[in-house]
Amino acid sequence: MAERSPAARRTLWLVLSLVFAFLYIPIAVLVALSFNEGGLPTAWSGFSLKWYASLAGNSAILSAALNTLIVALVSTTIATLLGTLLAIGIEMRRQYGKGLEALIFAPMIIPDIVLAIALLSFFSMLNLTMGLHTIILAHVVFNLAFVCSVVRARLKSFDWSIVEASADLGASAMTTFRRVTLPVILPAVIAGALLAFTLSVDEFIIAFFTAGAGRASTTLPMQIYAMIRFGITPEINALATIVMAVSITALTLSQRLNRGMIGQ
């Protein structure tokens, strides 16, 4: 890289500092407020964990968190399985139509609200009772698309001759998949699964429309939305801090895996 003048370097650092300030000040404020006794942005009235305590005592939030976990785990599992198979199936073929490509790409770009109302109309027309299961059905739609795209990216550099080599050495198709293909693409599969999991945990609009009656299918984002609608409460700050901490962990994990993948 060419040498930069001190002025140019200063400008670049300034840009970075401003952007990071823009990105992190709002989050930092929430985190700080979550430990503020008063919970108000008006003044610091002392360190306190009471908002975390009241969060832990909020059964609505806890059951919503549990529901979110169920939806994310189940939809991620299904999506990872289907998405990986789909990715392998596509990459095996040397050619496929634009239609297929569009079908797989669509769930990633279709506006949430459109998919949400489409599924709502669909489920209600089928006279299906909505609940966690309908949220899961819906989440798999976009999750499998994301898993598929991550795994496909890995498969683009996959040397298919090793599959042939395995067959040549006498392995069955299943054994080849288990012993050769899967180990090679596994980091991508896990990275895709983590991505799907995070998206599912965060997803609000589709869950909101496809959820059934009652707390039984209220997810965390739905609960957060209701809390925000009912006014600023410091419990949200505590919740935000926890959600942030979980995201940092998940993202760090997936980064590690991705690096491992590149390393292979």
Partner: protein, 292 residues
Amino acid sequence: MRSFTPSRSSLLMAPALVWLIALMVVPCVLVLALAFFRRGIYGGIDYTFTLENFGLVFDPLYAGIFLKSARIAGTATLIAVVIGYAAAYAIAAAPRRWQSVFLFFAVLPFWSNYLIRTYAWIVLLNRQGLITQLLRWLGYTGEPPSMLYTEGAVIAGLVYNYLPFVILACYAPLSRLNPELAEASRDLGASAMTTFRRVILPLTVPGIAAGAVFVFVLSIGNFVTPALLGGGRFQMIGNLVYDQFLTANDWPFGAALAMALIAIMLLVLTAQAIAANRASGRVEAAEGNANG
């Protein structure tokens, strides 16, 4: 030579494709079909064929809301692209070992909950919020500024939420750019500005286009941000669709609006594909003109 039978790959693809068709294609077709019926008197659907829902989309009121949504989404896109590109450029110019760290922290907020990120802006912007406190602390005693529930607040919320993606999308081509290209341009007598305009920018257009499309499509269909940061004072298409389904119980019209949203999205995506494909060609055509 890959010696796989098409039937085997079809078998692998089948479960996912069935899922996508049953739970995405069919419901979307259904919504399209809904748009051709009437709203029942008390909500619900009256199964008589009509085109009036599509006509209504072009009613000056709703067309106006479309335009306004496009304007808000477009402004948010423009700001996000300018900031995001600058950030991506700065990251790509940083020492290698720092780049992944910067990138990680640029993308990190994107993985926290969207609603929480939006909520943070309520905390910052409301009249008793942090910015007002800051002004007070700085000695300002007048009327606190009204920042929440404005178009600016909605745009800020959209930019804030989608900026990380723009940074990511712009960083990819910038980091792949051979640094010798910029040096070659300088070597051939171009100033830093000209080098940016004629070499770096055209070669990173695909990233910009991808980021811009992402922000625009997500913004124009958004209903959460206008609802929370706009104080109900801003109607965007997302809110309109939401209202038709959950407030007015006018599903057919809501369906027609959703289809219009999809149409806009397809239009934008086509534009992006053309921009990405012709990025190079277009630049050259411009050069051809400039040279006479």
